[in-house]
Subunit: 480 residues, 2 copies
Amino acid sequence: MRAISTVLGTKVLGTGLAASLLLALSAPAGAQTRIPEQAVDTATQLRETALASDLGYRITESLTTEVGPRLAGSEADARAVEWAKAKFEALGYDKVWLEPVTFPKWVRRSESGQVVGRHAQPLTLTALGGSPGGTVEAEVVRFADLAALQAAPAGSLAGKIAFIDYRMERARDGSGYGPGSRVRSGGPSAAIRAGAAGYLMRSAGTDSHRNPHTGITRFDDGLEPIPAAALSVPDADQLTRLLALGKPVTVRMALDCGWDGEATSHNVIGEITGSSRPQEVVLIGGHLDSWDLGTGAVDDGAGVGLTMAAGKLIGDLPTAPARTIRVVAFANEEQGLWGGKAYAEKYAEEVRRHQIAAESDFGAGRIYAISTGAPEYAQDAVKQIAEVLAPLGIEYAGDAGGPGPDISPFAAQGLAWARLAQDGSDYFDLHHTPDDTFDKIDPAALAQNVAAYAVFAYLAASAEGDFGSGVQADGATDGK
Amino acid sequence: MRAISTVLGTKVLGTGLAASLLLALSAPAGAQTRIPEQAVDTATQLRETALASDLGYRITESLTTEVGPRLAGSEADARAVEWAKAKFEALGYDKVWLEPVTFPKWVRRSESGQVVGRHAQPLTLTALGGSPGGTVEAEVVRFADLAALQAAPAGSLAGKIAFIDYRMERARDGSGYGPGSRVRSGGPSAAIRAGAAGYLMRSAGTDSHRNPHTGITRFDDGLEPIPAAALSVPDADQLTRLLALGKPVTVRMALDCGWDGEATSHNVIGEITGSSRPQEVVLIGGHLDSWDLGTGAVDDGAGVGLTMAAGKLIGDLPTAPARTIRVVAFANEEQGLWGGKAYAEKYAEEVRRHQIAAESDFGAGRIYAISTGAPEYAQDAVKQIAEVLAPLGIEYAGDAGGPGPDISPFAAQGLAWARLAQDGSDYFDLHHTPDDTFDKIDPAALAQNVAAYAVFAYLAASAEGDFGSGVQADGATDGK
């Protein structure tokens, strides 16, 4: 296959170098990946067609309206799988199929919280995904951040509720979510180690509404899980004000939720078959599951809708690009990248077939940059793509960032990734909350995303030469 | 008393004229109400003191934090009464007392809604105040507005759920709330007349969050009440999209709420005693009760906090104004102006003692205008007040608008009113929702409100001459 022989040409240079250093390598003359001029012309037309289309918006509307919330493993998740298969078929994809993904099933039945005593009042909270059920009524002890709770001596919170009041920062690139989500993932285990009976956190979010942010948590091995929940931002403010009065504050949190056996959902896949190198695949996609509080519009109905639309618009061209466009609606991203892991496992031997992959899972804001993990010999081709994207307000950004969540397991096995970086300034106003609903999506911004993904996928699928998938540290390739 | 003799001077002019026409009358020379120069100087200082103070903000914080939501007749409402009495006392008011107010008690226990069938998903809704409990599972019939539902033939909605999808308009002066709130007050009876088993409405609100707007409704005499609820704005959008798919949509709404006997709460009153005419009263205030979903910060913790602060700052002056400043935290405004009606009834014979009244019950936005229902002979004095308010961005606005809700029953009996018009552009984003919380208040805007109320109350209490309270159509006066 052409792509393999191209990369094999780099072998003489690569022995013993770390894969990341490949970025600094120059391939021999003639091994440079490049995009044919005619493909650039077609992509330019495709971009304008996509900008004028509301297809991505309508697909996203259909999913979020007709299915609504679709917690992994739920009845609605199964409906979402049916919906995705039917939608790929209705859009005229050449091949459509399901791949099973099995995972532990978590269910939320009810949840409530309140301050008890002289300042009695309800608190708006939501169980963290993975929390056990249970009712805890106890004094609250506040910590400014995760490190403060981790420093609490063992036993010092015996019978109490630990509360981390960390306020997440707003940022275009979502960089505030790293520390914010670590409070969610690491807080409960730290609380248990200090003896706490329950765990509360200020939501990892940037809004100011009575809509708490859920999201998966975990418990370190050997610890007995405790009920763990997030307060809405105004409720965290309120609890902090009550604590500032200087007297003990008792909260009752009652969660009815927990793990409940296993469930099987599906990665749903649609393909536009390549015209000359159909075995080579450019992968785009989003994740089909959502949290249960909203209808999963920005997380990640938009990602599914816009990549489905991009593939469909490529399929509408008179001639398909050389390579196959594969659109994947991944199963159960939210609770641990289950769909992405299943995909990486299933295709472990076929990383070389996958030329490059990009997942949209950061909302529906405009894309402002493209970056890839591709090696130096492919960067001119990425720059060619960036030139076609430039009228959309998108800049070339080298190797900034990393792969989307569902392609990250496969990227760890050598898959080349691209990142179409979205403006996520308001993403964490909505993410994992009841407020993640279709009305929050700007149709013009979504069309810009469709245009960007269509251009990217079409040009990557038209490139002569590869983007580095399956290139080992020693310059060898794996997969077939 | 000076004020009476001043008004008696107008008697020769007024025979047979409607009270509203008094605005067009000129009092005889010497009967003009005016404000002494020294009072203007003091008020100018007071304005600056108030602007630099966070007292109103802190009082509002105290109420909304320590008491939280305070539905009329609830345990928390009783705590709010205790809080208000203690706060007036702590602020050093000269007199503090309670006046009982009895009303029917409405309680909300639980509520839920969902679409059932092939698009099964939860809907966020809240029972309207006054709704009976009950569970209805029925097909939804959508109406664009109240008139459309009112035009539905009797029996045409037998067993169905009527849904009014009217979208309220945003406006600085809140003028969109008239038609919006009529959907809430008039919709249920129209639904019953058409045979409906349940009633849903798009919330009377201007936000886009999953926070429904409650508020009182009523049922016309002779009709059997049905469960009545408001969907959040995004949920109304969602239901409308589902209906647009063209197949019947069935919703299950389950409300556990209803009337439950009577309750007695209290108007809580604090006074700063006037220095030379203590029997004459200038009244300012807000309402102490709130809906139960939020903590009643903009509706109407702010009104209580800012008027309490204004009175306190007047009380801190070396010399009190001539007249008494009375600050009233009214009971149960939300369910039918019960506190305002009780006040008007109790003081029906004393309207002449009440020189003028202003209630703050439109959030915590900046005040942009002052208007009154005072007669022409008092308008120069109002303009004098407006001059002191002008540096706050406040304009003189004649007789625009009308009295605040709790003073309107007394105004109907002849009480002169003032309106300090607030910018309510975002008020109906929050009003009657879970999102009405303290974090929504801008402390600088609240200080501006305190300054305006302090200046207004101080100068009205310092005026020589009256503002028209108790002046009859024939120019006579009533009360003592």
